[in-house]
């Protein structure tokens, strides 16, 4: 029979270990469920992006490609200068969205069109999202953000 104090300490330690382990397991689970991969238009056209699952795509808004539909619907071409993906979005675009600007969109492919639930452009006019920059470089263009 252990002394009462030592037994309590053991219980406390066990509880803490359980709590920490539980939290760690929970964290890893949540992380696995909520990762969004990034693909460039070239990768998407090469079929590397997942079929129905959500991912992020980034590139430049192709010149002259923005067209508005009814209500708040809008669609545009996203390009990394080699390949292009049509993106459709319903909602209000960010202030810095314009042709030639680097943007990142979150969504999924549906019938060959990327249906975006979110479109992000950055605060700074000269800022190029690193992924977009990398995608453009990979597609063979010089670093033009400067």
């Amino acid at each position: 029979m252990m002394p009462a104090r030592r037994r309590q300490r053991l219980v406390l330690t066990a509880l803490l270990l359980c709590a920490a382990g539980g939290a760690a397991a929970l964290t890893l689970f949540a992380l696995r469920e909520n990762i969004n991969l990034f693909f460039s238009p070239t990768q998407v056209q090469a079929g590397e992006a997942p079929g129905g699952a959500a991912f992020r795509i980034g590139g430049m808004v192709a010149a002259g490609s923005v067209s508005r539909g009814d209500g708040l619907g809008v669609s545009f071409d996203l390009t990394d200068t080699r390949e292009t993906v049509r993106v459709s979005y319903t909602g209000i675009l960010p202030d810095l969205f314009r042709e030639g600007q680097g943007v990142v969109a979150l969504g999924a492919m549906r019938d060959g069109v990327f249906v975006a639930s979110q479109v992000l452009a950055k605060h700074d006019e000269n800022y190029m999202p690193p992924e977009v920059d990398a995608a453009l470089r990979a597609a063979g263009r010089a670093h033009f953000a400067q």
Binding site: T27, A30, N34, I35, N36, I92, H123, E125
Partner: protein, 653 residues
């Protein structure tokens, strides 16, 4: 000329900081009282010198001296005076100068109260702070000099980013940095204690008020940032789990754990090693945040100027500070054994639970923020961790934490009995459960999650009452409550207010992105919004298209004027949302784009109780400040101790 004076002052400040870092530290071992005594005047001189540099840069901004590269890049002749002043910290170099100024200010403040500390210990604390200061001054002088000149000077500046031309963002960085940098005091206390090999109640008593104040600043800084993002970014969200937000949130989580574990170390002499480690972590995470924000490694809406050399330098600073402190810790921590025991049901256990949960939350944020970077560095894979990850974890880990707050604060030190505590908690538990189940029934739709979260918020708020009652002896006035306890109660109450704000905002916000034509009326959240077209409006340095929305409902008529601004110095338009703020709800209107025929796309939001989020944060900060002003922190150390010179590591109360 004045700019050169500022530059020179910075160089002198670096020299003073190096002397302050080396001499008193050496003297504390060699036992040279005169050299140890140098630390205090050095800290003051350093502050004065950095203040001169800061004043010089401010002078250049106010007088639009565009021969300074930094001024030319972040100011403009048409910029209103207030933003020319806040423009000083509107970019990388100037914000680094602000950081150094605040660091020096904390150092001078510690020097001002160093009479409380034993000489050797005080000398070591100031020496460690000077090392940090020297690191940042060197960083600024070598890679980010705000006084760099350019010839010829351009006729006009490039302008401050319009997003930063805002009162909320003028105040946000000073508050945030005061918090970040304030944790350097706790860090210096921890390192000095490790050098001396001794941590005791007196040490914790000295460290507590500094930590509390730094934490309060950080809390206000984060809340201001959140508030600014809400009204300025034009999407009406209050927290985005953006990596840069996370960078400020991690030190806050570690700091929150620290102020709780310090309580146990002061009162009962337990968790000594852990407390010291947390003090190291809180500041290390501040440095990590600085690295993440300034190195350009992150995908973030906040992107500061990115320069690999700068990133490398901060990474080096971070590695030196953290690595050095941890190495010292590994060597010295075994000495910091805590002998006092406590039982399962005790205040110590409650504080331990607090620390486990805050530790887990901090780790979760760290993982979610760094994992994409790691994966990119290791495998070149570009991923991002979405807000659902953070939301899920904060709900899952935050709920038990909130549940524990109410009971934990009531528990006695060392040993308590359930029979004593439970009856006191019965009333708050019953009341909050009833409120939680009943109130959402009166709202547009019933949500069990919202009901439970609301009950949890009520529970945190109401459970403060028995804590305060237990502190007041029968027949005494409430004014006799010690400030440390009153501050704790207020901060916990603020947590409840915050939870309720988040719950209502998340569950009952009505958000519509829609197309609205002139003369059209839309019903949102029980209010009728009618659009009366747009008109041109000229501001000091921008041209705006100003919409007019009349809102009926809630007993009075309101007119809102959201704007689309074109700043003369920029190409892109800026959205300026119009908000009718209220205690129980905000009405939020932002213009999107013109869609032709006088119609616009617009965001029209109804946000219930969103103010409570920031109100809760302010109450927490106020509570932290009140607790820091407790009478027992103002007492002086016994004179006997302050005279020990050699081997004065022995820190006793």
């Amino acid at each position: 000329m004045i700019a050169e004076l500022g530059h020179f002052a910075l160089i002198l400040a670096l020299v003073v900081a190096l002397a302050q870092a080396a001499l008193p530290l050496y003297a504390s071992f060699a036992g040279i009282p005169a050299w140890m005594a140098l630390a205090k005047p050095a800290a003051r001189a350093q502050f004065l010198l950095v203040a001169v540099a800061f004043a010089a840069l401010t002078h250049a901004f106010v007088n639009s001296d565009f021969s300074l590269l930094y001024v030319a890049n972040h100011s403009n002749r048409s910029l209103p005076l207030i933003y020319r002043v806040s423009g000083v910290w509107g970019g990388h170099e100037g914000s680094l100068l602000l950081w150094s100024l605040l660091l020096a200010a904390w150092g001078a403040a510690v020097a001002g109260r160093a009479r409380q500390l034993p000489d050797a210990f005080g000398a070591r604390v100031l020496a460690v702070m000077a090392m940090i200061s020297a690191g940042f001054l060197l960083f600024m002088l070598l890679t980010s000099n705000p006084f760099a000149r350019q010839f010829p000077a351009p006729p006009d500046g490039a302008d401050l980013n319009p997003l930063l031309q805002d009162i909320g963002l003028a105040v946000h960085p000073p508050m945030l940095y005061a918090g970040y940098v304030g944790f350097s005091v706790a860090f210096a206390f921890a390192v000095a204690a490790l050098i001396g090999g001794r941590v005791d109640a007196a040490w914790a008593r000295w460290a507590r008020p500094w930590t509390n104040i730094a934490w309060a600043f950080l809390t206000v800084g984060i809340a201001l940032g959140s508030w600014w993002a809400y009204y300025e970014l034009g999407w009406g969200g209050w927290w985005f789990w953006d990596p840069v937000e996370n960078a400020s949130f991690m030190p806050w989580l570690a700091g929150t754990a620290l102020i709780h574990s310090l309580a146990a170390t002061e009162k009962r002499g337990v968790f000594k090693a852990w407390t010291v480690l947390l003090a190291v972590f809180a500041f290390s995470l501040s440095l990590l945040g600085a690295f993440l924000v300034r190195s350009g490694v992150l995908t973030s809406v906040h992107a500061f100027a990115s320069d690999p050399a700068r990133g490398l330098f901060i990474l080096l600073l971070f590695a030196l500070a953290t690595g050095g402190a941890l190495a010292l810790y590994a060597w010295r921590a075994p000495r910091l054994a805590s002998r006092a025991g406590f039982e399962l049901l005790s205040r110590e256990s409650a504080l331990l639970i607090n620390n486990v949960f805050f530790g887990a939350l901090c780790f979760a944020v760290l993982l979610g923020t760094l994992y994409p970077l790691l994966l990119d560095a290791l495998r070149g894979a570009k991923i991002s961790v979405g807000p659902p990850y953070f939301n899920f974890l904060f709900a899952a880990l935050g709920a038990p934490l909130a549940l524990a707050v109410g009971a934990g604060a009531l528990l006695r030190w060392k040993k308590d009995r359930a029979r004593r505590v439970l009856p006191k908690l019965l009333a708050p538990a019953a009341l909050s459960l009833a409120a939680g189940l009943a109130l959402p029934a009166f709202l547009p739709h019933y949500s069990l999650r919202a009901a439970l979260a609301f009950a949890l918020g009520c529970w945190v708020m109401l459970s403060v009452v028995p804590v305060l009652r237990a502190a007041v002896p029968a027949g005494h006035m409430w004014t006799r409550i010690p400030r440390s306890l009153a501050g704790m109660a207020l901060a916990h109450f603020g947590v409840g207010v915050f939870i309720i704000g988040v719950t209502f905002t998340n569950a009952y916000s009505v958000e519509r992105d829609l197309r609205i034509a002139r003369g059209e009326t839309r019903e949102i959240g029980g209010y009728a919004f009618s659009f009366h077209g747009t008109a041109e409006h000229r501001g000091p340095n921008y041209q705006a298209t100003r919409g007019e929305f009349r809102v009926r409902g809630g007993g009075r008529d309101i007119t809102l004027h959201p704007e689309k601004r074109a700043y003369f110095s920029q190409e892109n338009p800026m959205t300026e949302a119009a908000i009718d703020a209220g205690f129980t709800r905000d009405l939020y209107v932002a213009l999107g784009e013109p869609l032709g025929d006088g119609a616009w796309s617009a965001r029209i939001y109804y946000k219930p109780f969103i103010r409570w989020i920031w109100l809760g944060a302010l109450l927490m900060a106020l509570g932290g400040a009140i607790a820091a002003s407790d009478a027992r922190y103002r007492s002086r150390a016994p004179a006997r101790m302050t005279q020990t010179a050699h081997g004065a590591a022995q820190v006793r109360a």
